[in-house]
């Protein structure tokens, strides 16, 4: 099978039958191209989805204190609800919650916090939070540390900067850690810098300990928001946990637990599960189409090889008369089929990967890094050799059955 001489015989036949070779190659190359391109596109969509969700924990729940919309316990509607530190402490005890943080928004509006250093000043979003906020927001600490429990208990004036305010406030190459900046007139010391995989929109914030902010910005023990993650809980369990927390809040703040407006809840869990299902379906769809196209290509090769064998009846007859054994004929045909499918497949693979490179230049929210991994490439290559052998098998068997007498008489 691996004799060089036999390969030369195969190359010889291939080289001297260019049209047949081209036709064979085109169908397989096209099949592989479509398969690779679709798989890569599927991966790109999947990556795009994950990136969209990556800005926050995929199992996160957010609760904002809002105004009531249902009369309850003698109270009229439109009563403003405000969370307190005690709500945070109680929610923290609820089973199934693994990370939790409260948030206090200092100042009158969320984007109205003036941050100043030396002669530079600008407005950024200030988040006063608990240490778990790091996980809830899916940030990456690139320098220093995040808000710690010690910051919280000692009400330290520590601040963690996003990449954007850091680059605004500090010169290139300047070490921000330990430096002081002024937030709404109160000096804070920089303890860490974070980045976020979802990009600069998520990197514009400043984080300070919630306890410090409540003290410094006249917040008493108020919180505007609670956010927490529910570990591995599915949509059902997540809903039970949310109901428990909302129930506690309703009890304490005297509102109807069914009032959707008193506490506004947002969670990623259902959305993520729905998207996962959708993308799984897309992946299946794409794979089926790709494999179907490839199968058509393989059948095409088999067909062309079958015609080739018919066309080569006389040649095969001559070879047999000259002493070719059936196995040598079978190997000759299969080897040719395997070689052609593998070669064409690699061309298709290269074209598919190239096309994906082009597609990745299209900057879209839905598509991120469309590509196929090396493992898939290797699998595809092995699959092609198998497909080639299969495509060659039936024609080869037909060839081995050629009766030299009829073949030689065939004018």
């Amino acid at each position: 099978m691996f004799s060089w001489d036999r390969w030369q015989e195969v190359f010889d036949t291939i080289r001297r039958n260019k049209l047949r070779t081209t036709l064979t190659c085109v169908s397989v190359a096209w099949g592989i191209f479509v398969l690779v391109f679709l798989l890569g596109l599927g991966n790109g969509l999947d990556n795009g989805m994950r990136k969209n969700f990556a800005k926050d924990a995929t199992n996160g729940v957010w609760m904002w204190a809002n105004k009531t919309s249902v009369p309850f316990g003698g109270y009229d509607i439109a009563r403003r609800i405000r969370f307190e530190n005690r709500d945070y402490d109680r929610a923290k005890q609820v089973g199934g919650i693994d990370r939790i943080s409260g948030r206090f928004s200092a100042g009158s509006n969320r984007s109205g916090t003036i941050v100043r250093r030396n002669d530079k000043a600008s407005s950024f979003e200030l988040n006063a939070c608990h240490p778990d906020a790091l996980y809830l927001e899916s940030h990456d600490i690139v320098q220093g540390r995040f808000i710690s429990v010690a910051d919280l208990t000692q009400r330290r004036k520590s601040v963690v900067l996003g990449r954007v305010p850091k680059e605004y406030l500090f010169e290139e190459g300047e070490d921000p850690i330990g430096q002081w900046i002024v937030i709404n007139g109160v000096p804070f010391q920089v303890v860490g810098i974070y980045t976020d995989p979802a990009g600069s929109d998520q990197e514009r914030r400043l984080y300070v300990p919630v306890s410090t902010a409540q003290l410094a910005f006249n917040g008493e023990d108020k919180l505007n928001m609670l956010q927490f993650t529910v570990g591995e809980a599915g949509p059902e369990e997540a809903k039970a946990i949310i109901d428990t927390v909302v129930g506690q809040l309703a009890e304490r703040h005297n509102f109807d637990p069914a009032d959707k407006q008193a506490v506004r809840v947002h969670n990623n869990i259902e959305g993520f599960a729905r998207f996962q299902k959708l993308f799984w379906m897309i992946a299946v769809f794409v794979t089926v189409i790709g494999l179907g196209t490839l199968a058509a290509g393989v059948v095409g090769v088999s067909n062309i090889m079958m015609i080739a064998v018919k066309e080569r009846t006389k040649e095969i007859g001559v070879r047999k008369a000259l002493g070719a054994t059936p196995s040598s004929i079978i190997f000759m045909i299969i080897q040719e089929a395997v070689f052609l499918t593998a070669l064409a497949g690699l061309l298709g693979l290269a074209a598919g990967v190239g096309m994906l490179e082009l597609a990745s230049m299209a900057n879209s929210d839905f598509l991120s890094n469309p590509s196929v991994d090396v493992g898939t490439g290797i699998k595809a290559a092995l699959f092609l050799v198998g497909a080639g052998a299969l495509a060659g098998y039936f024609p080869a068997r037909a060839a081995a059955r050629v009766n030299p007498i009829h073949a030689l008489r065939d004018q």
Binding site: D12, E315, R319, L322, T325, I405, L408, Q411
Partner: protein, 242 residues
């Protein structure tokens, strides 16, 4: 060299079978130059196919040297064809995409001889049939006579003991035919047994012995004199079967 003993061959045609060879008794000694003659359908080509192990027979015995050729596997038949028999055909049967040299070398490929070595040997044989200069040409670029010379070189390269030629001059003009038959005679003179199937009395006249078949039976078997015997007139026959 070879012996056919009570060989019978039937072809199935629809529901009934056609008896194409009837109790053929032929013995050919080493080094003979034999013509097999007969009309279309007389069984001469079938006989040649059986001798060439390209076809099987239904009863009797075929001995090639000391070997009984019967119920051989495809692999064994291929081996015997490759090692003991050289074929020359009316339509040459050269592979159109291979050069003269590669065509001649092909039997050695199936013997497992290395490319370089078989090309050297093939060149010697092309020289021997007088078309060394055409080694790198493909068949389409050659005349009928040249093609047949390539085919003859190919039949010889495996050093066979027997050459079977099926109408080797059937597609050639009379002058070229004469040259090809001279070449066949030379080959025979080198000690190889040659059997030629032919319609052409002139071709048969170049051989030493003529076996005539009619309706699947041997009707005459003898030296040149027997075909020129006035009591057995040579019936004029069509030139080619095709």
């Amino acid at each position: 060299m070879l012996r056919l003993s009570k060989v019978n061959k039937y072809y199935k045609v629809g529901t009934h079978s056609l008896h194409v060879l009837r109790d053929i008794e032929v013995e050919v000694a080493d080094g003979e130059f034999v013509a097999i003659m007969g009309q279309s359908g007389s069984g001469k080509s079938t006989m040649l196919n059986i001798l060439g192990i390209l076809d099987e027979y239904d009863s009797g015995e075929y001995w090639l040297g000391d070997t009984l050729i019967r119920d051989l596997s495809e692999r064994r038949s291929a081996h015997y064809r490759n090692r003991f028999i050289g074929f020359v055909f009316q339509s040459f049967n050269l592979l159109p995409f291979k050069t003269a040299l590669e065509n001649v070398a092909l039997p050695l490929y199936y013997q497992g001889v290395s490319r370089r070595k078989r090309n050297v040997i093939a060149m010697e044989y092309l020289e021997r049939v007088g078309i060394r200069d055409w080694a790198e040409h493909v068949p389409a670029e050659m005349s009928g006579g040249q093609k047949q010379r390539v085919a003859i070189a190919r039949s010889l390269i495996g050093k066979p003991r027997l050459i079977l030629a099926d109408e080797p001059t059937g597609a050639l003009d009379s002058e070229t035919s004469k040259q090809i038959m001279e070449l066949m005679a030379e080959i025979n003179a080198s000690g190889i047994t040659v059997l030629v199937v032919t319609h052409d009395p002139e071709v048969a006249a170049r051989t030493q012995r003529v076996i005539r078949l009619r309706d699947g039976k041997v009707v005459t078997d003898g030296d040149l004199a027997s075909i020129s015997n006035p009591r057995m007139p040579v019936v004029s026959e069509p030139k080619a079967e095709a």
